[in-house]
Symmetry: C7
């Protein structure tokens, strides 16, 4: 092999270096500027169209998200272009390596496709309480690739969108509160229903309730108890508080009327040895 | 590299900008107009053919759904065409990226294919009570990609159609109510069956019932009880109410006749130490 | 770009519209006519060959099914052909989109292939009681793509054929009734077997039974009981009724003979503090 | 477009119709004839080679199976050939549709490949008692695509061969009977083993047994019992009957010797309030 | 179409028939001869190299296995070649059918690849006691495609090698016996450990033991008992017998020393009503 | 074949050997030097930008990680190039072997893609306490391919990034402490709530707490107890200590006030035999 | 066909046979020689670099592993080359068979890729105690394809590397010992904590302990007990012995102080019939 032409090499390196520097400077200026521009324009649109705060936050996050990835994509392509590495043909004709990349990256595509439809079909908004990908929580951020939920215990769940198969949104419309009270087999069923219905009637004026609580009847027979079911329709996110209040009130009402709770019973046939 | 021809660039940008503006304006006019047109024509057809409200709502939702996606598709293709990016060849010859997209998007195709057959085979109508994709609920909306169910507790489930494997439709024909009553081992089986059958006979005039409740016999032996089974055929969605009423009536009848409930028994052999 | 030739366009649209109208009219005439023709010819064949009602219903449903899909296929191809869109080449050369469709649609092909073999191997007939795809029920309809089962509780299950892996057909030949009776550890095993066998002997004349019930012996030792097993062979679908009758008769026979039921026992060693 | 040449069309249709008719007639003659020929020649081979009945039935079923599918294949290809549709090129060059079919049909190929090896490696014979694909039963028929098992309760299981991963054949060689007897903690272990071994010795002359039952020792300590294990080697399919007989005999022997059964014990420390 | 040249056809059929006959005759001679040759040569090699019987049986089985499949492959190719059907090009250019076969047959390839490595890495020998593919048993035969295990209850398991993911070989080196003895909370722990260690010391001279049994200490606290653990290292396959002997000896030693077994305890606070 | 030209071969071998030696020497110099350079430059950046220690450690690890793999890649390519084996074309045109590699290596690509997004979206930092890939632990190192977690019991978990689907980060914001206290059915609910709230009030000044503990009400009815729930918001990682302290304080407060704990109750109906 | 030229055939066979013989001889010489060479050179490197014994054993095993597979590969290629079968083109152009092989062999590639990274990232060393692929054990050998673990009961687990998803290495750094002691509800919590802490303090001088055991507080409330937790940090592999010693010492300390163990309690409300 030949001697290496050091001068030419250094010249070429300097030229490339300069171009890369320019690229990075441009990127560092465009990125924050663009983000601020996107954010403010979304906010203006939201104000004019009187969007709810949740939806406008969602839109802002999403726009910034798309903006960042597109910018990054152009940055990488330009960067490689300056270095003389054309990304397109490489990817298109990459054979085995390409095959591996194609398979490995399908998860990413799957994330984006799923994320796109979650957003366009408005399945989730920021601040909704949802179940998705096996986790419950309040939505903190919606992205094309990842959705962030804040769990009840404070944990932050990062869920790649492809892991979101079925979305259960608990903040779309009213919720239902459900309380099961069990009484002993010796008690009078009609009397117990009457007592519970009385408690229910006191709750109807509660503004958290949309459809007054009602005793629907005998739900099942346990090994030592009869289970009576009470249901009500409540404002979203208020169902747990309503259930707790109903439980306390009903328990106290049954106690007052002397209707016994159903502790586990056992009939014992004693034999002495 | 050359100096950039700014004038030509700006000219070209303006032309493109104008075309895009025109496209957006057309879209903003066509979209709502088209939707109203589709909705009203479906309603007229539904009236003329005396379709049930559920089916007509389904048809309307579906038509709007298809209309929206087709419009969006043409909008994106035209948009990219104006920018000089032909979508077809890109997708067809995209190599590795295309492979990844192909794999990632197969879920979407799977959604649409499944959704198409659910609709054409009339497996689900709006307002049906169904089990699909692991969730129970009343159908709120049927789409080519997603089906929305309203769960009993008020949660709204968004189910991508590919997740719907087997559809269990609980509102196609009559349902069956089933009540198990358990009596102690000491009781007379024939007597107990007679008492329960009496209760059943009182229910036969109930208009919610299609086939009077009947005691079918001794279902099983528990560790301390004999289980008798009663079944009936009811109007759809009335099975739970019927079961609750049957349970209450039978419990009271057995109490009246002095037929004991089967509390858990235990034989204890005492040894003192 | 050029000015659009409106006249030519309208002409062409009218021509296409006329052809489409003709196509739709032909379709609306051919579809119901063909269905009636297919149905009646199947019924004649069934009568001549004295097929069971179930099998003839199956054949009729299947034929109508195939007829409908073939007609639909030709309708769509012709429709697209009139619009100047050749479906074949599009599908064959569709690149990435085609790949996605190919993957997404494999479920459909899988349905049809499985459905075809279920039908040709006569695994299922209409009115059979089967377990398939995780659901029990009586077959209401057999199709190339979907099988419909009516569950015991009245629910209608739509099962895509690909979800049917193993078919368990409970109506091919006789079924077996199985009853386990448990007696206490203190009882004489031989005596108990004699009593149960006596009951069995009374059942042998029952015409629902193909092979008289027999006590096969000591099946297992529970924590406080000895389990004796009785088995019988019955007409299909009669096994549950036979089991219920056997259970009642055996329970009463043991009571008469004073052979005690095995309630859960416990030896208690008392220590006072 | 042109006027249609009705005469030529009718001529051509008649020719094609005649050929199809001929094909169907040939098929209806060849199919039953060929089946009888295949069956009888297999039976002769089986007689000459003194094959067991099970194996000869297997061979017969398989041969008929292969014969039927091959005939069907040639029938379909000829049928399509007469209609001018060459099946080969269509399948080879089918693009997207072909891809979907290729994926969808892989299950079928998988069935045949697995079925082929199950047969060639003689894993299963007709009348064997096996566990395969999650179901127990006696083999009724072996096919290239499906295996039919008759379950204990009479259900007929159709198992596609691909679902058969591991075959557990319970009729290849002797089986083992296993009985666990539990005694109380107060009993003398050596004494109990002696009593059980005595029972075992009485069974050694039983011709169903290949290796006399033996007490192998203390298997485990339960919460209130000591478990002694007895094992024996039996003729295939006789293991359950042997276990039942052993259980009865041992229970009676222990009773005679006054060795107590281990009912659940509990030490109770009483405190009065 | 032309008249068929019957003479030429018959001639050609006879020629082909003769060749096929010759092929079958050759096959029927070569197959058993080759097998005997392979078997005897393996046995000589095994004798000369003083291989263990298990390993030599493995080698023999494997060689016969490979021999049979290779012969079968050549037989089929020649057979098809005589019939004028070249297998290679068909398979290579088979398009859709080929795709289906490729997917369907991957299981077969996977079997062979896995089988090859199990053999070459000597993971299993004939007569080893192993857990593989979810089944326990003694290896009866090792093949390139299938491994046969004889389960404890006598069942013969046919396991396709692809189902063998992790091999657990219980006959490579010494095994460990483990016995947990539980004593009451009132007992002296040190005393109990001393008694158990005494029993252990008596076992150290047992030749089945490689490392004398030792009491390692307090393993856990149950709801009413303290669990002491004893472990020992034994000859392979002797661990269960050793455990049974240890269990019996320790139980008797504790009884002699009056150290009480821990029956379940319960503190009962009585309230009379 | 020809005689081999030994001289030329040796010459060529020496040349290649020299080049390989040079390559290895260069590698051995560049590798540690480069690592130190990368590490120190990252540290300077971190200092100047005042990054948290965790984030700067993450950045350093990542950079070294990327540096090592890139260097290794160039080393292997050069190495093979000297040996005259061009890696690129081999991989691109490798046919079957390539296919296998492509499939086998997709896991690697999947690791890197997932790792890249975990890093760029800052889902995890070194020293965070997270749940990922089925394991809990403190992050020790973040890499493009593997993430290392130190579990609570000291185990070091190596998790390939593809196994990380959902990341649950327990150190992003405040956590919630949750304590359930159960009281007997006989106790006064209001009184118990008052006592527990008193304890809560004493904790509000605790600086680990962000939102004072509060009794939210009756959570559920057990078989013998009423469950009251207390929740609080705490500093991250302090939730367990807070819960332990709350539990102890509340237990002692209830004891002082004489509010009974709910031991399991049972109603016993005695029958003597 | 022609007459076969027997002479030429025999000549050619002899030539090939000679070459094969030569190849086998060369292989039989090179294989053991090469192995010894590889082993000794690794040992020298290990000595000079003062590597731990585990790591040097790992390196040796790995090198021999790679050496063996490379040699085998060259042997097979040369062997086939002599027989005139070029392996490369066959594999590259193998069509359907190739596809099947490609799919079937991907597991092998996956094994090697995973094995390579486990080695290069030093996740496992010989003699480490790890959990991998669902099995616990001490690493006996690390290979490119398979990892061997010796389980606690003596079983040798052969784990293909692809089955190793997450590696849990229990010998990287200190481990944590954890003991839960439960006391009755009547006991004084502070007193119990004091007693347990005293025991802990006696253990701090134990050299197996890295961070003295400490009582962390009330972990939970059982149905009849209060659970106190003690944790400590220990030398690796000493955690179980430490836990056993702690358990014994604490149990004895509580006994001495008269702090009662929490046997299961039950409140019984007696009713006589």
């Amino acid at each position: 092999m030949d001697f290496i032409n050091f001068e030419a090499m250094i010249d070429s390196l300097l030229t490339i270096g300069g171009q890369l520097l320019l690229l990075i400077i441009v990127y560092l200026i465009v990125a924050p500027l663009g983000k601020r521009l996107v954010a403010s324009s979304i906010q203006q649109v939201a104000k004019r169209q009187k969007l709810s705060e949740g939806r406008s936050k969602t839109l802002e996050n999403l726009s910034l998200n798309v903006f960042t990835y597109v910018l990054l994509f152009f940055f990488i392509v330009t960067f490689l272009g300056i270095l003389g590495i054309p990304l397109g043909p490489i990817l298109a004709g990459a054979g085995v390596v390409g095959l591996a990349i194609g398979f490995g990256a399908q998860g990413l595509v799957s994330d984006v496709v799923t994320g796109f439809f979650i957003l366009i079909e408005k399945q989730i908004d920021v601040d909704d309480y949802v179940t998705a990908g096996g986790h419950d929580g309040v939505v903190e951020e919606l992205g094309l690739r990842t959705t962030k939920l804040r769990g009840f215990d404070g944990t932050l769940h990062y869920i790649p969108n492809r892991n979101i198969q079925v979305v259960n949104n608990h903040t779309r419309g009213n919720m239902r509160a459900l309380v099961d009270m069990s009484i002993g087999y010796g008690e009078n069923i009609d009397e117990a229903i009457r007592v519970l219905q009385n408690v229910c009637d006191q709750f109807t004026s509660d503004e958290r309730l949309k459809e007054g609580p009602d005793v629907v009847g005998v739900q099942s027979f346990g090994s030592s108890d009869i289970v009576l079911r009470v249901i009500a329709q409540t404002e979203k996110m208020e169902q747990w508080a309503v259930e707790r209040d109903l439980r306390k009130a009903m328990r106290e009402a049954l106690d007052e009327e002397g209707i016994e709770i159903s502790l586990p019973h056992r009939v014992v046939l004693n034999k002495d040895e």
